[in-house]
Symmetry: C2
Subunit: 223 residues, 2 copies
């Protein structure tokens, strides 16, 4: 038993050390990095597409897309104008710092301002693995239901920013925004939240302003 | 390295042996069991509620609800008329045969016809752990998007039956049913599929007839 626990600690220790190295390399190159997490189908790739459209010309952006199979997401990010790297995890349910390291090695970091890492669609496992990014962003989506903060507390506790996607579907779905927000507030008080729709574009300007503000603040503080 | 692989093999071996024991106990008691899997918010609990409503009086049903936190799902299943047992996995991203064993020990199996096991909301990890149930059922939901079979092939390959939930939202969402079904067909040819809506009740009679047919067939073949 203690033998097995030691092994797990070693794995996590190695991951955290490599995450710190990833962060140092991003800092040295002046690249602000976001770890984007969500359930399958919450709209990670759609949000990246819309963000790229709005940022076009103003920032140099790369996307790293984690999936257990296919390059659908990287293809979409590339079509939307990003330098895109697909990580196929080969079945693994989350990205880790080693995988991000391999993706970083394929990018010209000096030529970038912003890196968006699209994690594997999963509300549980990605929360346990640091990658070395600067901010963790969770996308909730209205059709998932208003009880998700209560049911996936680790994920909701661990993120810096929350995007509530698919608000265009609110008229067609039973979703109590007050109940949802109460759950969020219990777990992560004062979490900055952006209700958006990638279909109607509602809320996207505010979200993109947050991204721009972070990239600019990061550059100014000298990283 | 080989040491670590041996440990993993031991864990899976133990899980499969206990899954076989769970199956033997369900068979001996004449209880047909379903392992219900899906993304967070695809509608597992809603489908259980609607199934219980339609089965009311005709079958004795228990629900085992797996979550990383809270008893929201078991509370809903109990309110809908099932004997309900909540398994809090304490952070684990899937149910395993040990957890189901503990739940079975809290049920009077001889007093049941049907057991519905609601797995943790996750399209990846639950696919790797046998529980001892008779059928694996996956719920896809329309708002998740039509690319999910391509992106989560292990889950789509491993199930016996597919429910496509939230078809009432098809008018409001870009979802190419042909593209979705092509992906399913590639991975799991001839997979039996039930398009349903737990809001409008569309398709629920066909789904419940499948459940009833399986329970009756199971009883007739003497397990």
């Amino acid at each position: 038993m203690s033998e097995r626990i030691r092994i797990v600690e070693d794995i996590m220790g190695a991951n955290d050390r490599l995450a710190a190295q990833n962060r140092a390399d991003l800092d040295a190159a002046g690249v602000f990095a976001i770890n984007l997490m969500a359930s399958p189908g919450a709209g990670k790739t759609s949000l990246i597409e819309k963000t790229l459209e709005k940022l076009a010309g103003s920032l140099r952006v790369a996307a790293v897309d984690g999936d257990i199979a296919t390059s659908i997401d990287a293809d979409r990010a590339a079509a939307a104008g990003a330098t895109a790297v697909q990580i196929n995890t080969g079945g693994d349910c989350h990205l880790d710092a080693v995988m991000l390291r391999q993706a970083l090695d394929q990018l010209e970091l000096d030529q970038l301002d912003l890196l968006i890492v699209e994690n594997v669609g999963n509300l549980i496992c990605p929360a346990s693995f640091q990658l070395g990014t600067h901010k963790s962003v969770l996308i909730a989506s209205v059709p998932e239901g208003d009880d998700k903060p209560y049911k996936y507390p680790t994920m909701y506790k661990g993120v810096d920013t929350l995007v509530i996607n698919k608000v265009d579907l609110l008229p067609y779905i039973k979703f109590n925004m007050d109940y949802f927000r109460q759950g969020v507030e219990l777990l992560n008080p004062n979490l900055e939240t952006f209700p958006v729709s990638c279909v109607t574009a509602e809320g996207l300007d505010e979200w993109v302003a947050w991204v721009m503000g972070n990239v600019e603040g990061f550059k100014q503080t000298g990283k």
